[in-house]
């Protein structure tokens, strides 16, 4: 790869976080019984007409604003015509010219030397249904639950140069869109998937080589692997004096290779034209103002703010990676201004638990103020680190006051010298003979008194402190 460079552009399909489909009121949710979320519109019945979901438009514009795009005052939907069993109307409703957003960019790389990846456009479109191949009976089963689900397609300029950059860009874009609540972004559900266009050329050349398109990559790792494989494949073709043929390829994650799906000759003629069933899509300045007003802090700003609070780079990133983690963190800080301690608890305990449970932090049972309470118990030595870890699963599962949970399990350390003093005084008063013996020099008897205090505190007193307090009282 010394004298060649890869030129990479991406087309990312991102499912919008809406309750309903793009053009009908069916629920936009996958994973249910086949064809249980269909109606005459999304199943392509004769006479049915689309009606645009305003929320989807809102979210597309929001993504555009966050990515610095020019959000178009007027855009139009077009029909993209082709036949496929998962496409009930015989066309996809997409946008060609103009789309909802033009331009924009997202930077990757170090903050002091960022690499700007330009965006070409963002457009709205509806998703297709799903085909399940029944090999045994030689037939294909079609489920239209996903048909009509709203997507935005984000198209980048060919500004990426490596698999590492590709993965970094995708990760950052994903985190941003999740952070904005534009998408749920569940990769395993295909809610954020991309096509990669890649070609090679001599390093620094101004022209483009023949490119291949690798379809439907739904993890950052696969995207990076596909780019890496494809760059090597194309390089070896060129090294042998062969040509790269323009084609569409699929990535096989098991074999770690791409293979040809169809050549350019078989390319479709989609016959795009303006969708006559839908009026032009209008976005007013007023609407953009409202979107701006609900826009959360951008991730870079959140990160800078977190680091300003003393969090490490890694802690800040971990909080940004998990959707709404920063929101939870900020809520906890309202109860306890100990950012570092809270971040540690979140990174080590809360976020892994949320990950396993598939929950966003604000949706879990453990309220931010209770996490703050837990941190406070640790800070004032009432609860040992080990005890905190021990009670955390229960707290996460059931919620509640950590002090009560710890007390119920007898894990609280009473480090309040006033409380211990009272217990110690009681113990001395109840055992005057032993006290006398101590004063006469039998110092070993102190451990008897410590035992008494521990008993009275039901094991919660800090034993070292109890000893000190007892010695002080006995020596008076």
């Amino acid at each position: 790869m010394s004298d060649l460079e890869a030129v990479i552009g991406l087309e990312i399909h991102c499912q919008l976080k809406t309750a309903t489909k793009l053009f009908c009121s069916c629920q936009a949710r996958s994973g249910d019984e086949p064809n249980s979320h269909i109606c005459e519109v999304c199943s392509g019945q004769p006479g049915a007409l689309p009606r645009l979901n305003g929320r989807a438009l809102w979210l597309a514009a929001k993504a555009g604003l966050a990515l610095g795009c020019q959000v178009q005052e007027v855009s139009i939907f077009s029909r993209k015509n082709y036949f496929y069993p998962d496409l009930p109307a015989g066309f996809q409703t997409s946008q060609l010219d103009p789309p909802v957003c033009l331009g924009g960019a997202l930077s990757i790389g170090p903050e002091d030397d960022p690499l700007l990846i330009r965006l070409n456009r963002i457009h709205l479109e509806d998703d297709a249904g799903k085909c399940v191949h029944d090999e045994a009976r030689g037939q294909t089963l079609v489920d239209l639950n996903r048909a009509g689900t709203p997507l935005i397609e984000i198209v980048t300029e060919p500004d990426l140069r490596s698999s590492a950059q590709t993965a970094e860009f995708l990760k950052k874009l994903h985190a941003l869109l999740v952070h904005l609540e534009v998408t749920e972004g569940r990769l395993e559900e295909g809610e954020f998937r991309c096509d990669v266009n890649i070609s090679l050329r001599p390093r620094g050349a101004a022209w483009f080589g023949t490119r291949c398109e690798i379809k439907n990559l739904n993890s950052f790792r696969h995207a990076a692997q596909a780019v890496a494989y494809e760059a090597v494949r194309q390089e070896s073709l060129l090294a042998q004096g062969l040509e790269v043929s323009q084609e569409t390829r699929l990535f096989d994650p098991v074999r770690q290779e791409t293979r040809s799906l169809r050549s350019k000759e078989e390319a479709h003629d989609y016959r795009y034209f303006p969708q006559p069933d839908l009026p032009p899509v209008l976005i007013s300045g007023e609407m953009l103002e409202k979107i701006r007003a609900e826009m959360p802090e951008p991730p870079e700003k959140v990160k800078a703010r977190l680091k300003g609070l003393g969090l490490t780079d890694e802690q800040a990133e971990r909080l940004l990676d998990r959707r709404r983690a920063a929101e939870y963190f900020d809520a906890a800080r309202l109860a306890l201004e100990e950012p570092k301690r809270l971040a540690t608890l979140m990174v080590e305990l809360l976020l892994p638990a949320c990950q396993r449970a598939g929950l966003d932090p604000p949706d879990c049972r453990l309220a931010p103020r209770d996490l703050a309470a837990l941190a406070r118990l640790m800070a004032d030595n009432t609860l040992s680190r080990r005890a905190a870890y021990e009670i955390f699963p229960e707290l996460f599962e059931k919620g509640g006051d950590p002090a009560a949970v710890a007390a119920a399990r007898g894990l609280l350390q009473v480090s309040d010298s006033g409380a211990i003093e009272a217990l110690a005084a009681e113990a001395i008063a109840a055992h005057p003979e032993e006290a006398e013996k101590y004063r006469q020099g039998q110092e070993k008897i102190l451990s008897f008194f410590v035992g008494q205090v521990m008993k009275k505190s039901r094991g919660a007193a800090n034993p070292k402190l109890a000893g000190e307090v007892l010695a002080g009282l006995l020596n008076q």
């Binding site: 809406t18 309750a19 309903t20 009121s25 069916c26 629920q27 019984e33 086949p34 064809n35 249980s36 979320h37 269909i38 109606c39 005459e40 199943s43 019945q45 009606r51 645009l52 979901n53 305003g54 929320r55 989807a56 438009l57 015509n81 036949f83 069993p85 085909c131 399940v132 191949h133 029944d134 090999e135 030689g138 037939q139 294909t140 089963l141 079609v142 489920d143 239209l144 003629d269 016959r271 034209f273 303006p274 006559p276 009026p279 899509v281």
Partner: protein, 102 residues
């Protein structure tokens, strides 16, 4: 603009139509040629469009003057899924069935 056999064949493929469907190869060829003639005849009349002076004219795709705002994102259950599925020529459970996709 001429519309030749090759164009007609390509257009028919795009439209998933086969003018010679169910005919012998010779008949199919004749049917295609006849269709090409008909379409060429129509297109010859339509070519009058090229005479219209349209430079600087914005295309008008729809005579729509006023349109409603987009709808709210509120789900509604479809009350007639079974009636929709009942119209299917072939189904397994609630799936539509088609021949295997190669």
């Amino acid at each position: 603009m001429p519309i030749d056999l090759k164009t007609v064949r390509h257009t028919a493929e795009l439209a998933r139509l086969d003018p010679g469907h169910g005919l012998s190869p010779d008949e199919a060829e004749a049917a295609l040629a006849k269709l090409a003639d008909e379409l060429a005849g129509i297109v010859a009349h339509i070519d009058i469009l090229s005479e219209a002076e349209t430079s600087g004219v914005e295309p008008l795709y729809s005579p729509l003057i006023e349109a409603p705002a987009p709808r709210e994102d509120r789900p509604a259950d479809c009350a007639h899924i079974e009636e929709i599925l009942r119209a299917a020529p072939d189904r397994v459970g609630n799936f539509y069935v088609v021949p295997k996709i190669i």
